[in-house]
């Protein structure tokens, strides 16, 4: 059994190493590279030569070899198909290093859906594994996008991957899946965060039909959860929060906030409900507000 004090000391060493990592020359060079207006050009330049990766992680590899309790300052994601870690991130760019298992890919059932993630990425296929990218195109998602009128996605020609290739995928209108890898696929995947679309979409491969939509906006998602909490907790003084969220850029949050507000204090929410029925920029929100306004006025008249 390891002493608690030993684990605390290991954690302190890991924190110190993380601070040194972010102050290191390779890390600062990446920050400097992406502090320019033409971020995509900077990403292309960074991915053109991947020698910096070894220099970036060398101190962490050394620390790990010296200290079995050392925790590298990386977020790691692992599923049945791949393991990946974020080696760099700032508000503009994140870069993940990922290994996709060809063996795991070979035994997976064929995917039923493809995701159009809403993110602009550039990926260097360090080892392409003779895989190919299956591609699909989806319509741009405008401010009045509606699931009811969404056009199906359509398959685009496959892309055969080569070792060292850098592939730009505009995930705001394009989905992709890796297929046919003969050996593990090793990638450096850069996401330009500032170009992220508000929503990710998932489509059925067989029919091209839209299956579901999810927000890419953590802030809006958190706000929606917290507003539901405020309603359930019957928190006094929360009116301003509901009112403010009905003016959010995210249409689903505007209406979500109005629903919560109506449920906690219909009378207070009524003037804003009238405004939304009249002038909300999203057609579905206007329709929902109009229908709800009729319900409220019917109750008032009763």
């Amino acid at each position: 059994m390891v002493e608690r004090s030993a684990l605390d000391a290991a954690a302190a060493r890991s924190f110190a190493a993380a601070a040194r990592f972010r102050a290191s020359e390779p890390y600062r060079a990446l920050e400097a590279a992406f502090s320019v207006p033409a971020v995509e050009d900077a990403v292309v330049a960074v991915l053109a030569d991947t020698g910096w990766v070894g220099a970036l992680i060398a101190p962490l590899v050394a620390a790990l070899s010296d200290d079995p309790w050392f925790e590298p300052p990386f977020r790691v994601a692992r599923d049945g198909l791949r393991i990946g870690t974020v080696v760099f991130e700032n508000p503009v760019v994140s870069i993940a290093a990922t290994v996709l298992s060809a063996d795991a890919l070979a035994v997976l059932p064929p995917p039923q859906t493809v995701v159009v993630p809403g993110r602009l990425t550039l990926t260097r296929y360090v080892r392409a594994g003779e895989a190919r990218l299956r591609l699909w195109d989806a319509e741009p998602m405008g401010p009045d996008f509606s699931a009811a009128t969404a056009r199906p996605c359509s398959a685009a020609p496959d892309l055969v991957l080569r070792d060292g290739a850098v592939v730009r995928l505009d995930g705001r209108t394009r989905g992709h899946l890796i297929d046919g890898a003969r050996s593990d696929v090793v990638t450096l995947n850069a996401t330009i965060r500032t170009e992220t679309a508000p929503y990710a979409r998932e489509y059925a491969i067989e029919t091209g039909a839209l299956v579901r939509v999810a927000t890419n906006d953590d802030r809006a998602a958190r706000t929606q959860m917290l507003l539901a909490y405020l309603r359930l907790a019957q928190r006094p003084g929360a009116q301003e929060r509901f009112a403010a969220a009905t003016r959010d850029p995210a249409f689903f949050l505007r209406w979500g906030a109005m629903r919560e507000w109506l449920a906690i204090d219909t009378r207070a929410a009524l003037p804003r409900l009238r405004e939304m029925a009249e002038a909300d920029p999203n057609a579905e929100v206007r329709a929902a507000a109009t229908a709800t306004l009729a319900l409220v006025e019917e109750r008032i008249a009763a």
Partner: protein
Amino acid sequence: MDIFNLDINQIVDLGTQIGTSGAIRTLELVGDDVFDYIIGVAILIYEIYPNG
């Protein structure tokens, strides 16, 4: 004048339902650990108790 409060289940929802951040898994590593963890727990509960 205090008229009434609507039951939230009586209030119409949008035709275009929007899942929360992280609800569609993508190839990118994004978001933060705590939020991903919350979403993971929510998905797990939904899968165990879909009608709960």
